[in-house]
Symmetry: C2
Subunit: 171 residues, 2 copies
Amino acid sequence: MELLEGLLTRRSVRRYSDRPVSRETIEDVLRHAMYAPSAKNTRPWHFLPTQDRRILDGIMAAHPFSRMLTYAQWAVIVYGDSQAADTPEYLPVDCAAATQNLLLAAHGHGLGAVWLGIYPRQERMDALRRLVPIPDNITPFAVVSIGYPGRDYNEQPDRFEPEKIHWDNQW
Amino acid sequence: MELLEGLLTRRSVRRYSDRPVSRETIEDVLRHAMYAPSAKNTRPWHFLPTQDRRILDGIMAAHPFSRMLTYAQWAVIVYGDSQAADTPEYLPVDCAAATQNLLLAAHGHGLGAVWLGIYPRQERMDALRRLVPIPDNITPFAVVSIGYPGRDYNEQPDRFEPEKIHWDNQW
């Protein structure tokens, strides 16, 4: 798939087939996530890919819009390391860029994925922290649900909003 | 260029040729930026693409790592709208995803680009606000410097860090 086409055709995919997704494929998706830019190239991200039903069910209990995890082959928890980041406030920015790369890499592999927001909602961050114990400097940032698409996602919504481009320095 | 290859070969490009970049190309880059995901699909971003030397010089005066704007064909200021966002705290997350799409779309067009962090540094946000007056609910988030690459960027740094993947639920 062509890069520009891939940016336009990536969708939030919440229905999955039962086709397995190999660990090697997930590793390659995460490899591409790690090529996102970050402030001062600190790369303050971590990833926990899991197929553990206890964890997937725990995320569903903590997150109101996560029912698609019932059928997901994998969930990837994206974390940020506040000690590694340029400043703690850059952490969500860097993790978001990596998460977007992750979604696009999944799309490039023919997978479907959806980004479940965790940060900045404290109750979700706390729940994820209880589910998988992590060091104090690590913050749960997002969960990405992954599987091969369970239906066609060929229709393409029009998201181009020319009024959001401010030409000629005019607001 | 292939999507997966594009994710790996995108680089921070700070040296530009004097080849002009058309307004149509910039508009297409921004079209692709707008296909990023956002919390509840609120798409709380705005873009101000400019070639105005006064503004580019003003950014250089406000940002310590922005000398590449001397030779940039365009700067795109990315803004977030705190009223449009799902919550104000999601604003940087959504804007970061759009900015990453912007950088990738530039790469897909054969352009070079680099992300200059503005948010969360208050002095930079204030300086951008003075440079281009904007409504109170709008926050300057980032500047992207754009031009055709002025040298080869063929070498590819290895950013894969397998120790940042936590398999088997082990931290």
